[in-house]
Symmetry: C2
Subunit: 269 residues, 2 copies
């Protein structure tokens, strides 16, 4: 029996870079699927493509419109292939309309000088924080084991005082456990709930418009992480005009930076 | 006489979202044009498009291959228009081959709760730092007045000890001065030289593969900045495997965050 994550990102090749997929109730969000599962699905299309060169280096997903429950079609097209890098354009369509577009950079990695300038969050034990006050259709948080060190899900029914910042730190892994790879990592990078929820301690409609993830670990390093939880940190930079941006880092064993991710989110209030 | 920036991003509409442009020697980089001028040119195509809704919110440019000196063609296509946001796909072609692809999110801004979580760099006087040891064809740094507070251009002929971080802080504006707008801002977001130059204090081939910019200021706020210099900060997060990512912030008068930008860069050494 396949893992729910793999069932959710499953694609049937129809030839020429076209793939059929379908939404999975286990990853449902407020409106349509969890953005992270859509991001992984688009990355998966390139992963499965016969012309793929190397591993994912960067992925930008633009959430153009709602994805509704049911089947969709993904088309992946290699725009340009260089000696060691490759640029892709990917589209997800439903009923002939674009629901999400994406660009991906794939490529080969080489041994080079290496350094990490940012520091991982302090290692600390986390605790589970229940998701409350969201629609019962929001299933995706149950697909993750999340142990919060700080900045857990706000309780919209019993709001706390507004914190001075929007930071969260948490241990996260797929539930049930699943070996780490770039596909799982792409989804985890979007698993940090909208920072406006934390800052305002109340529910406001919010949705990611564009999400960019940079993959800093190769397949071997991700495989070495196995099913152990990774340490995530998320924080906003600026809220205003109906939009805010938030940034996430995902750290693996031994303080290894696996990926960083940035997104611009709309909010209403 | 038009400003060199406006001459460099100039596009001639050919109908149906197609525009003709050409490289400008004043913004030449090591190979092809300065990435920031390419980013602005792609954004300009949407700006000029008759179907444009609102202002730029986000721009991702994928540098797929070298842009060579001479004419190019830009095609901008609205993928989806919602009530208050719009998603675009843009391509820059030369000789029938894709040189750069981009996605842009445009939209309307509304008055909402606002907060900036990150702090601007301390205000301090900067000093000009000459560009040395790069090919004489690299003209674009002369199109900016850059006053460095820290982390100025390394002198490849007289390298300093490797610093512990890659941070730069500088005052920057177009040279000659030009009123700020989203087009100028998109270019400035890429005007922070590759962080590997600073960390290693020696020249290494490096090039941006993908660049994402989030615009936090509306047209009125940008216009209010006038021709005064903005304060920029750039820093890398992780180097390894032949790639690194760097992040930039651009701050305007009164500590107002105008934009943040992220990019993934290849390097060879």
């Amino acid at each position: 029996m396949s893992h729910p994550f793999d069932a959710a990102i499953a694609l049937t090749p129809c030839g020429d870079g076209v793939f059929d997929g379908a939404t999975h109730a286990g990853y449902a969000n407020m409106v349509g699927p969890f953005g992270g599962i859509t991001a992984s699905t688009l990355l998966h299309a390139v992963w499965l493509h016969s012309q793929r060169l190397g591993e994912p280096l960067a992925l930008t997903v633009n959430f153009a419109g709602p994805v509704v429950e049911g089947p969709f079609r993904v088309t992946a097209r290699a725009l340009r292939t260089n000696r060691s890098t490759q640029h892709w354009h990917i589209e997800l369509e439903q009923g002939g309309e674009l629901a999400a577009g994406a660009s991906a950079v794939f490529g080969l990695r080489r041994d080079t000088w290496t350094a990490t300038e940012i520091a991982p969050p302090p290692l600390a034990r986390g605790t589970p924080v229940p998701v409350k006050g969201l629609s019962p259709r929001v299933a995706w948080p149950q697909r993750y084991d999340m142990q919060f060190v700080k900045g857990g899900w706000p309780d919209f029914d019993n709001p706390q005082a507004e914190p001075a910042d929007s930071h969260s730190e948490l241990w996260i892994r797929d539930h049930p456990p699943r070996p780490m790879d770039a596909l799982a990592l792409a989804a985890i990078c979007d698993a940090f709930y909208p920072r406006i929820f934390r800052r305002r301690q109340r529910f406001t409609p919010a949705g990611t418009m564009t999400l960019s993830t940079y993959f800093h670990a190769d397949a071997a390093a991700l495989a070495a992480q196995g099913t152990r939880a990774v340490l995530g940190r998320a924080r906003a930079q600026h809220f205003g005009g109906g939009y805010f941006d938030q940034t996430a880092e995902v750290w693996g064993d031994g303080g290894r930076l696996l990926a960083v991710s940035h997104q611009l989110v709309y909010f209403k209030e």
